[in-house]
Symmetry: C2
Subunit: 146 residues, 2 copies
DNA sequence: CAGAATCCTTAGTGATACTG
DNA sequence: CAGTATCACTAAGGATTCTG
């Protein structure tokens, strides 16, 4: 019985993978995971989403000062691409000096929750990963000596 | 009552973000999410993990033929980095011709589950994202005409 | 078969200067 | 303030050739 259960779980996973992993043709829009990952797989998107998640509404320079190390250019590029995907909304107030407020859309908030879940897993397993890296580094060293 | 509940949820999220988002110093090892994302934010890692998740054990060329478009070099690089993090195990059989079998470690299987969860979200929301992109493209076009 | 090594192209990123 | 435009650099990725 137990064995069948595990077996069934395995099959369910394989089935899921098959649906997610469209192996051929159209590299775009075909694999939704890949497409989503491309959104925050870059250097600044995660930080931007997390920072906006904390504060609800932030102006350009507020974001820039809270995201440590980002350049003006890259923040602009990142915000544009997030806006393009409907994850961030951009509210322009036609004043002088100009004021622009950024915030997460409901869609962006949904993604934020996914990121936080991933973060839970990451925190739970980061030590294992760091250990694995050390082990690997040691093995490398020994291989070089030989 | 309802309001307080929502309010509390919001605070819980902000707290979580604060823990995940270490804003200053040590860019490495400090933000676990970023660190994990760097693992499969690249071009081939996800495909590799998903493909290995389907088949349990695969040889180098089997992987290469199943991951559509990957070069020999990039597959090697990807596998090495996944092995380094303890996500993939590499079993060498000292025969002639050589045989090498790759498989997910328990840690890698854990990450696979996370990826599949993300995939669920992705599939659920990909349409909204695509719509947002179209809307954005239209707005861009109109702005250019003006 | 499973790669290592090399070279080359280009996309991502960053610094700087300028503008409504 | 909130950008845009330009240039320059680096690293990711890919094509090819060679090997135990």
């Amino acid at each position: 019985m137990e064995v069948t259960k595990v077996e069934n779980q395995r099959l369910a996973i394989q089935k899921k993978i098959d649906k997610v992993l469209c192996s051929k043709a159209e590299p775009e829009t075909c694999c939704p995971v890949k497409d989503i990952l491309a959104r925050f797989g870059d250097k600044w998107s995660i930080y931007t989403i997390l920072t906006l998640g904390k504060e609800e509404k932030l102006r350009f320079n507020e974001l820039k000062s809270q995201i440590n190390g980002v350049s003006q250019r890259m923040l602009t590029v990142t915000l544009r691409s997030l806006e393009e995907d409907g994850l961030v909304s951009r509210q322009v107030y036609p004043e002088i000096p100009p004021r622009v407020e950024y915030s997460l859309t409901p869609l962006g908030q949904g993604l934020l929750l996914q990121l936080l879940q991933l973060a839970d897993w990451a925190k739970l397993n980061i030590d294992q990963i760091l250990e694995a890296r050390e082990r690997y580094a040691k093995k490398e060293k020994q291989a070089q000596l030989a």
